[in-house]
């Protein structure tokens, strides 16, 4: 079981390195969306500082959503998904490997880039570690929850817009706790509550999402 998990993780990482657009595009999207806010609102540093946590979190959430559409798409198109479903290994474990690989190539770069954008948005430096931790736990949760939507829509033409419609409402709790942790950190308040709640959401998603993703994939390949 572990062998199949690592083999799938390795295969997907290898594929991502050979197809850079898959992980570069969401990253560039993240940067551009954040850049739009000063241009749309004005360069006032105080104003930017106030909205920075929300803007960074919403942009990260949208970038995650954008990347999610491709999570199962190529496997579905070339028939690899059927082979995945017919594997003797538990499907929940295999989809976990796919989601993890997907997060490593899309979520992790997002995370690493976020301090830079935080500086651009004039966010207080003390809040940056909290931003990183909240994005780490938060984007993992978003990937897990979003993968359910990606699995449900993978068989559909133009599934991308529908995917957004299905999963964005489910992203709201993560957004609330994530951005409020950064707001609290920027104002010098304690952030334990928010981070614990984010952690709880992550654990819940880790347990409940894989079976739902597996069931959804079986339906989408019918």
């Amino acid at each position: 079981m572990g062998g199949a998990f690592w083999a799938l993780l390795k295969r997907d990482m290898l594929l991502a390195f050979r197809r850079r657009a898959d992980w570069l595009n969401p990253l560039v999207f993240f940067v551009i969306v954040v850049t739009l806010f000063p241009l749309g609102i004005g360069p006032d540093p105080g104003l930017l500082r106030d909205i920075a946590p929300g803007v960074l979190w919403v942009a990260a959430l949208l970038a995650t959503l954008l990347a999610l559409d491709g999570l199962f798409r190529s496997d579905f198109d070339d028939g690899s998904l059927e082979q995945l479903l017919l594997s003797p290994q538990p499907l929940s474990v295999l989809v976990l490997a796919k989601v993890l690989a997907h997060w490593l190539v899309t979520g992790l770069p997002l995370l690493l880039l976020s301090p830079l954008l935080a500086v651009v948005m004039q966010l207080q430096v003390v809040a940056i570690p909290v931003l990183l931790v909240s994005l780490l736990v938060g984007t993992l949760t978003l990937s897990l929850v979003g993968a359910i939507g990606a699995a449900l829509t993978v068989g559909l033409q133009r599934g991308g817009v529908l995917l957004a419609l299905l999963v964005l409402p489910l992203f709201i709790p993560v957004l609330i706790f994530g951005s409020s942790s950064v707001i609290a950190a920027a104002s010098g308040f304690a952030v334990d509550a928010q981070l614990y709640l984010l952690g709880a959401l992550f654990l819940l998603a880790l347990v409940l999402a894989p079976p739902a993703i597996a069931a959804a994939l079986r339906i989408s390949t019918e």
Partner: protein, 247 residues
């Protein structure tokens, strides 16, 4: 018990039951709604703080309750459908979704109308209104997913999974939004708190709520009947009834 359940789940038997219960619930609902509207709008006393405008709760609160109740019905039926492959449960979930969305929209619209005299604005980011808005998104997503999948069996199963994912998320969304609200507006008074509503106001409210529930069941049963007819158009019992003009 289980056998009885299965026999009921056969479309033909359910159809017959729906033919009897639908009109019955319709009459009960009409009586309750008439009584409720009369007592709510004319008999119940004027609120000393909000004046007459509070009377919108007689539509707003039952709609909000129904918007949640219908989602619960949908999720319960989805579970029945996924576990026991009960097609009837899928039909009930399918026809309930647009009604749930309509109740949610009504709750939002009346909440917004109420906001104008209360706060002087059409939209207030109140926790319950926000949760209600997100619930509307969930309903729309459910219907959109169902509409996008051509194969009916796949559409039903995919929608059922989405409904179950949604029902797990609803409490999480609800509490996170409430938490968000108290964080950002610590001093605001939540208008929907009705801890000590007077009995003369409460009775019409409960009548309206029960009336809404009967209205939902009447409407749901008649929609379910037409879906059953559509799906079973090739079965003999439908053909017989059609010939005898008893649809």
């Amino acid at each position: 018990m289980f056998q009885w359940f299965h026999r009921l789940a056969a479309s033909k038997n359910f159809y017959r039951l729906a033919e009897i219960l639908g009109p019955l619930f319709g009459v009960l609902g009409a009586i309750l709604l008439t009584l409720g509207v009369y007592r709510g709008l004319f008999v119940a006393p004027t609120d000393y703080e909000q004046g007459e405008s509070y009377r919108i709760i007689y539509v707003h609160v039952p709609s909000a309750w129904m918007s949640m109740f219908v989602y619960m019905v949908m999720a319960f039926c989805s579970a029945l459908f996924l576990i026991w492959k009960m097609k009837l449960a899928d039909i009930i979930a399918e026809v309930s979704a647009p009604m749930g969305a309509a109740f949610t929209f009504l709750a939002l619209a009346t909440g917004s109308l109420w906001g104008k005299p209360m706060w002087g604005t059409w939209w207030e980011w109140d926790a319950r209104l926000t949760s209600e808005l997100i619930l509307l998104f969930l309903y729309i997503g459910y219907m959109a997913l169902r509409a996008s999948i051509d194969n009916r069996g796949s559409a039903a199963r995919a929608a059922a999974i989405l409904a179950l994912v949604g029902v797990v998320n609803i409490p999480i969304i609800h509490y996170s939004v409430e938490w968000w609200n108290t964080l950002h507006q610590p001093a605001s008074i939540t208008k929907f708190d009705t801890p000590s509503i007077h009995i003369s106001m409460l009775v019409p409210l409960l009548m309206m709520a029960l009336g809404f529930t009967f209205f939902y069941f009447t409407n749901m049963l008649s929609r379910a009947r037409s879906v059953i007819l559509e799906r079973e158009a090739n079965n003999n019992w439908v053909k017989d009834r059609f010939r005898e003009n008893r649809l």
